[in-house]
Amino acid sequence: MSKSIREELDRWIRTTLNKVLSKAPEREPSFKTTSQIELQRLYTPLDGENRDYGRDLGFPGEYPFTRGAQPTMYRGRFWTMRQYSGFATAEETNRRYKYLLDNGQTGLSVAFDLPTQIGYDSDHPLAEGEVGKSGVAIDSLKDMEILFDGIPLDKVSTSMTINSTAAILLAMVIAVAEKQGVKPDVLQGTIQNDVLKEYAARGTYIFPPLESMRIVTDIFAFCKDRVPRWNSISISGYHMREAGCSAVQEVAFTLADGIAYVEAAIRAGLDVDSFASRLSFFFNAHNTFIEEIAKFRAARRLWAKIMKERFKAQKDESCILRFHTQTGGSTLTYQQPDNNVVRVAFQAMAAVLGGTQSLHTNSKDEAFALPSEESVRVALRTQQVIAYESGVADSIDPLAGSYAVEALTDEIEKKAMEYITKIDGMGGAVRAIESGFIQQEIADSAYQYQREIESKKRIIVGVNQFQVEEEPLRDILRIQPEVERHQKEKLARVKKERDSGNVRKALAALKNVAQGTGNVVTPVLDAVKVYATVGEISDTLREVFGEYKER
């Protein structure tokens, strides 16, 4: 059969195609994806001649999971609709969470402000101007109690974008849950806890890489024993993509980081099958629709192979790449912001067709400020339209077998693996980050992308073509300066009311464990329960571990 397809293809090229090409050339001499993969004019069955259905695709919920992480996928239940949200104080963010839950959101995703993420209390000089700005300010357990007030932690799963201070915020969730009468073993949620990509792209590191990796693996061990339904890490390509890398690089760098975490955990004495099923991932959904769908499928298959072949995982669950997706923040334009609703819809659709487990859709006004309540609702509604109206959720992995999608899935997997081999050759992801290789690759891609926009090789609607005269958006969410003052006052009150002897004791105990080889999460939990602050706990660890300085 293939022979006749090949003959027929040749005939089509010679006759039908060439007749048109000779009169009307195509728009471009060649068409490339963001990963510089040259797209063929036409994909046919010939492109999948070496593909073996059972080996390369298989069935949903079975190795190599190309077709999906679960056997029923969205026929069982939709992805979790989880809008990343947090601003100002715990009081205001708690109101926004209740608003989102009332509007049909099915999980929470907490955005913390930068001081919380970098381990400074709201009254620290470096926190000035940042308190409550890019997320909610959390100084002590008191704030966390307010944040989750009236939200049942045994029913609503909570994802937290927190890395260097992940142990502290996780401990706070456990402590709040206990106060709600919820036991740690039923708690569901995720901490990002992916510090490697902080050095590579996002920037909220505190400690040097080696010490950070110890905290990460301590968290793995703690979660395995104490909060077994919690995802102990969300290995994230999202931010590297936002910083400018391509789809292939996103897969490659994320999985290379994943390999580094698995190796670190094994070195720390954990059995691979004891923690691997609690690893989760986080990807971007960017503009190039087909490439993005293929990217998710390729990542799932490649991770399954890595876990089985490289790490000899015995359990199937250890091989499943479960992931959260957020639409690409850097694709949102300041110009003609209504167009962003359309971009987000396509990106979200790609994530769903790629089999995401949870999804955040960006709001149209995020090139201006944090999103307003109204624009967040439109973003959530976009997911609901995909889920309830579009029908794409009703059949599993519906684009499988598309000649183009399968060819790109193969190609992305192959090119990502080439990168991973290269990173292995450098001594792994930690070394590749320390040497600046990954940062340089990301910066090079970002610069190339910008050049393409400025030379109009890449058109961004409303930015470098189809521009209009317009008034900038003014109806945006603003964080008032009183927020910082209010937060500082609350912190001072907590410090006055708590038993400072207990705090001193808890911090001394933490220091002791950090200097030794014990698990740091346990004394962190004791410290948050006596209202030691994020800054105090971080400072204690800074004394022992030192601080990382960017090269």
Binding site: G129, K133, T333, F368, A443
Partner: protein
């Protein structure tokens, strides 16, 4: 042409505050370098004091500040203030990032001469710098 060669324009690109979003800062630093300017990029997490000191020590003509975290309203004016205190008020300052339009007049009053919004081409920024800074010879 007849006299001494014009010195290259010296630029400091800086990231004040805790914000780690440095894609824009890095892209602009590289574009300015490609346009023949001498560019120093501070890296992330710089205090206004560190930025002002670097600007003076490096003898730059112009400073570009980038912030996407919302802290611009506190941090940008402070850079201008410290430069003025140190007698370097002639160093031109511009900024960019996620900056609500209503903040622009406030920043301009505080000595930030221009704010570039998302979507600005590097070409426009290069032109702006050339028009506004005559490199000291």
């Amino acid at each position: 042409m007849g006299g001494k060669m014009a010195r290259k324009i010296r630029v400091l690109i800086a990231k004040p505050g805790l914000d780690g979003h440095d894609r824009g800062a890095k892209v602009i630093a590289r574009a300015l370098r490609d346009a023949g300017m001498e560019v120093i990029y501070t890296g992330i997490r710089q205090t206004p004091e560190q930025i002002a000191n670097a600007a003076i020590q490096e003898g730059v003509d112009i400073v570009g500040l980038s912030s996407l975290s919302g802290a611009h309203i506190t941090l940008f004016p402070r850079v201008a203030e410290i430069l003025k205190q140190k007698g370097a008020g002639d160093i031109h300052i511009f900024g960019g990032g996620i900056i609500p339009v209503d903040d622009i007049p406030v920043l301009k009053n505080a000595g930030i001469r221009e704010i570039f919004q998302p979507g600005t081409s590097t070409e426009d920024i290069i032109t702006y710098i050339r028009e506004n800074v005559r490199a000291h010879t």
